[in-house]
Symmetry: C2
Subunit: 341 residues, 2 copies
Amino acid sequence: MLPTIKWEDDKIIMVDQRKLPAEEVYIKCLDYTQVAEAIETMVIRGAPAIGVAAAFGVALGVKQISDRDDLDAEFARVYRRLERTRPTARNLFWALEQMNAVYKSSRCLTLPALKQKLIDKALTIEKEDISRCRKIGSWGKSLLKKGQTILTHCNAGALATAGYGTALGVIRAAFDEYEGITVYAGETRPFLQGARLTCWELTKDNIPVTLITDNMAGCLMRRGEISVVVTGADRIASNGDTANKIGTYSLAVLAQENNIPMYIAAPLNTVDFSLSSGEQIPIEERDADEVRKICGCDITLPDIKVRNPSFDVTPAEYISAIITECGIAYPTYKDSLEKFR
Amino acid sequence: MLPTIKWEDDKIIMVDQRKLPAEEVYIKCLDYTQVAEAIETMVIRGAPAIGVAAAFGVALGVKQISDRDDLDAEFARVYRRLERTRPTARNLFWALEQMNAVYKSSRCLTLPALKQKLIDKALTIEKEDISRCRKIGSWGKSLLKKGQTILTHCNAGALATAGYGTALGVIRAAFDEYEGITVYAGETRPFLQGARLTCWELTKDNIPVTLITDNMAGCLMRRGEISVVVTGADRIASNGDTANKIGTYSLAVLAQENNIPMYIAAPLNTVDFSLSSGEQIPIEERDADEVRKICGCDITLPDIKVRNPSFDVTPAEYISAIITECGIAYPTYKDSLEKFR
């Protein structure tokens, strides 16, 4: 299992995903503000992993409270700091809400007991995230078969979760079950999660992976070289509209045009049942230099105007199925997702 | 006018497009093999510019023949060397055929007279390329209007031609005619011609340009932020199927899905009337390190398997019109292109 994130007594350890695969560097977060910064700067990324990091961040923040009189104010401060790190992934808010519920029901305990409750809850969130990924893999593999070539985008792997992965969980489970499974990884500009993280993860597991630039996917689909597309998700509206890494919408349209199934693999805590459609999902726009520079090197004029939406929304009509830990949801998603709720 | 390529007596001067925009370096080709290498290594690129470079290469190759007895063998050697530089762009072969016709009809002249004929022909090819681009611009602007936002891909600009550009020729002409014309440039991985060359060219001309990664185009189309797509072409089959920089097919599918017109801008010498469909167009696959490295820096595992098709084929049914120097061809292209022949 890859070391995405780990709770250690009075610190949280994460592999610095900005530096992979060139360097395997571990970062120690000694307080909740460092956890928040790690999420913001993408030391850790991937919707489920962000959720786990936020839960650990709350546990660490409360663990460092010494004065019981400040408890509510300090908890609110920790919560709000972690809440404003990144706007799109549902799992962040889900994890914070889980921690908040435990806080509310346990705030009358002694301070040490409350702290332990929150640590236990965060560790449970971590553990359950892995088990959800394994179930997603198990359901998902039933949609795949021997000899297929799977295109994935960004990194929805062990590094994007507490372990095993969502889209890569499906790929791992299929690879273990069937012969001849191979993968195309889209490099995923601007942050190159596909080139850097997915290629690294799959190579570590000896799963055959071929890297392409994002704009090659359509051409390979048309040539019949891709059997199926599987990606993760950052937030799914109750009608199945799915926000995921920028470029996912394009892959979904191209898949439909070429009669290729497009699957989303995500735990149910990615579904935001409060939203009726994907139009309501807030989409983060990140810094222009993520596009202008690669490896610290200017690839264009240093002051060129840039757009940098980190996510796009794929309307439900382009999605063949949503693979969750409770089973596979098919259209109409409003009904099928609700049934899993 | 930008200095793409220039004939100078006994050498050919080109701006090194691999180094733009960080450095404006000029390369001197002192013989035809250096011209061939400049085409292969993408010092110069863009279908019409490659054609001009090949014509100059033939003129330079023949200019350096000293022994009339070797004439036919030496001409064949020069021709074959330039012919095998890159397989996809039609303009390369068109220019070589033009030079070959002049050679055949003039080979009984004195050697100095033959040399001058070939130089004159190459200079005519260069001059006519610019005038074709201006006519393409003039026709193309009639398809655009005030306030539109145009998405382009790769670089089909002055740097891809002898000057002015094909797709960027259309954009330049529209910008001169209408208020509020703005451009989105797709960065165009792996070689980043959009980020490096299109942004540089348009900024020099004060045409407002915003850079995006290739995988953002679909999302912006869906949001209604793109009015029209205009790209160049490397080879067009007689039925209108169009080979162009990898990623063009994806943009065409996404444009159609979002009811956005998709225009190809190219001179008629890009059309290969010998091919009945795009399936017959040879597609170059280039070196894996073009994908694995950016600015000399590994963006993935150094030995990861890679696919690197440089071009894709957009079937004619996704193309709203083909803008040539003779006018605008609409479907059915077999008829409309034939009429311009």
